[in-house]
């Protein structure tokens, strides 16, 4: 078990936690938490390859910065949708929001 695999296992554990959250949670905000966990798992993977693999430090940090930026944009828009859905329907339970018309 070399050092690289420890970080890959870490990244996979976070990915599994995130996937569990996306499948098993009904509150839309919890699903957003899980999505952020998955994105951070991907960033950790890139960082691990920067240190123990053959990815340059500059390259890895550039990739990770772009990923964080895109995650910020997606979180903002997702939260805006959740706020508006809550305002229109009164609840944010993804099981019950399955019709376009209220």
């Amino acid at each position: 078990m070399n050092e690289l695999s420890v970080y890959i296992i870490a990244s996979v554990i976070f990915l599994a936690i995130g996937v569990y959250g996306i499948i098993a949670k009904r509150n839309a905000i919890r699903i957003l938490f899980a999505i952020e966990i998955v994105i951070n798992a991907a960033n950790l993977n890139i960082a691990a390859f920067a240190r123990y693999g053959s990815l340059a430090l500059s390259q890895a940090q550039a990739i990770a910065i772009f990923v964080i930026g895109i995650a910020a944009a997606e979180a903002a828009v997702g939260l805006a949708i959740i706020i508006q859905a809550f305002r229109l329907r009164g609840k944010i339970n993804v099981d019950e929001m399955n019709e376009m018309k209220e």
Binding site: A10, I13, I22, I23, A24, I65, E74, A76, A80
Partner: protein, 164 residues
């Protein structure tokens, strides 16, 4: 036992991640999500990517966690529903499948050669690298973030009723 620091960080971060999904109150979930981001930042510090660690704290904890907490406080706690066992089982099954399938292929990483010496890293070299290779993409990312902010504000504002 020379992996003690990564293993402690893994345990800390996964407890924070599980708490953020499973805690009873959404606000505690948002707080533990912020702690998870901090744990990730400690990971980056330990791996030697100091700029990325500070960037993660500044953007994720400073902006995204604040945004999430603000939404959670405005939307309020949802109604307590009975825990649905089929959903929980499907979730655990999905997570277990992901974990198992990745761990099966992990023996590949044992055979990778040791990494070569890294060139010295300064912020100037990172800036030069980004501007040389990803300059246009940086510009597009800036436009994307601006339009995302604009779109989020436009989505979330109250529609002003036109009364005749």
């Amino acid at each position: 036992m020379d992996f003690i620091v990564p293993i402690i960080l893994i345990i800390f971060s996964s407890i924070a991640a599980i708490l953020s999904l499973e805690s009873r109150s959404l606000v505690y979930g948002a707080v533990s999500l912020a702690i998870f981001f901090l744990g990730l930042s400690l990971f980056f510090f330990y791996l030697g990517l100091t700029y990325l660690a500070i960037f993660q704290v500044a953007v994720y904890v400073g902006a995204i966690a604040v945004l999430i907490m603000f939404t959670v406080m405005v939307v309020g706690e949802g109604q307590r529903r009975k825990r649905s066992v089929p959903l929980l089982a499907m979730g655990l099954l999905g997570g277990a499948i992901i974990l198992a399938s990745f761990l099966m292929g992990i023996s590949y990483f044992f055979s990778l050669p040791n990494p070569s010496m890294q060139p010295s890293f300064t912020l100037v070299s990172l800036a030069r690298y980004v501007m040389d290779n990803y300059g246009l993409i940086l510009f597009i990312l800036a436009l994307l973030l601006t339009s995302a902010a604009y779109g989020a504000v436009a989505l979330a504002r109250r529609e002003v009723e036109e009364t005749a």
